[in-house]
């Protein structure tokens, strides 16, 4: 049951990510805006991350039938999604995310070679949570400035995704609980809320780039 629900989440995530990514890319091609370029990278990464997890699960359901997805596939999918969350947060002007010193950068890479995939997944989930929470706060601040209703929906969507990540992370502590189902449901509702601004774009009025 859980694997099917997770499969639906990943498919929804893939579709939502790709649609928002394509709209952002059309916007970037038409206006040359760097913000839209970052949004394109963000949502393509999020879509690709969900696709990797969906593909891994579908392969397991249809071919291998082991009932669980390979840990490295899960970790890779979450890592690619985190890149997307980073670009969302970066669009809200994170000025210096990585340490400037080369020494700190090299030391920062060391744990990746010393710890297991489960630990890496935990670390990535916590990074995702921080980035999503940051994006949600900044979007909420933008709502107070612009009073645009879609901004508050996006902020709620990012909060739902952040809370979903948090619960998914907590699920490692209580593996037999319903936390995973709640986490997946939160993420699906978060993705749907992120999709709302796309429904406001009058697609018929957009001059599509001929190369797309």
């Amino acid at each position: 049951m859980e694997i099917f629900l997770e499969n639906i989440l990943n498919l929804v995530g893939f579709i939502v990510g790709m649609v928002i990514g394509i709209i952002s890319y059309i916007g970037f091609r038409n206006t040359g805006s760097p913000t839209l370029f970052r949004l394109t990278l963000a949502f393509f990464s999020i879509g690709a991350g969900f696709f990797i997890m969906w593909f891994g699960q579908t392969l397991d359901i249809v071919v291998y039938q082991t009932g669980h997805v390979e840990r490295w596939v899960q970790t890779l999918g979450i890592a690619v999604q985190t890149v997307g969350y980073f670009f969302i947060a970066f669009s809200h002007t994170i000025k210096s995310f990585f340490p400037k010193s080369n020494y700190l950068r090299s030391v920062g890479m060391v744990p990746l070679f010393l710890i297991s995939f489960i630990s890496i997944e935990n670390i990535i989930r916590s990074i995702s949570f921080i980035l999503l929470a940051y994006g949600a706060i900044e979007t909420l601040m933008s709502y107070f400035a612009s009073r645009r209703k879609t901004a508050i929906l996006v902020a709620c969507g990012l909060w739902a995704l952040a809370f979903g990540e948090f619960l998914g992370w907590y699920y490692f502590v209580f593996p037999q609980s319903i936390l995973n189902v709640v986490s997946i449901s939160m993420k699906i509702s978060g993705l749907i809320m992120l999709f709302v601004p796309v429904t406001k774009v009058p697609l018929t009025k957009i001059k599509f780039d001929e190369n797309i």
Partner: protein, 88 residues
């Protein structure tokens, strides 16, 4: 990006006469320096977004057809980005 949007919007909706808007008028509307607006206007003319004409010894700027299309796309995607709490 916002300055470009403001300049195009002014040349579309707020031109003082048929020939277009003068550089002084655009400086007042966009609230930027002469040096900066000159570079932007040259760029916009080169890109085909604005049409330049000489009227009684002064340069005047009018929005072109491509400029109107760009402005429409700019407004659409500005609202889209605004939905995510961002400005383009």
């Amino acid at each position: 990006m916002q300055i470009i949007g403001d300049i195009l919007l002014t040349t579309r909706d707020n031109t003082p006469d048929e020939q277009g808007a003068s550089i002084t008028y655009l400086i007042r509307k966009a609230n930027i320096s002469h040096g900066r607006i000159s570079k932007i206007l040259n760029n916009l003319v080169a890109q085909g977004l604005l049409e330049q004409s000489n009227s009684s010894g002064a340069c005047k700027y009018k929005i072109s057809h491509v400029g109107r299309e760009f402005l429409q796309a700019y407004n659409t995607f500005n609202k889209f980005a605004d939905g995510y709490g961002l400005t383009i």
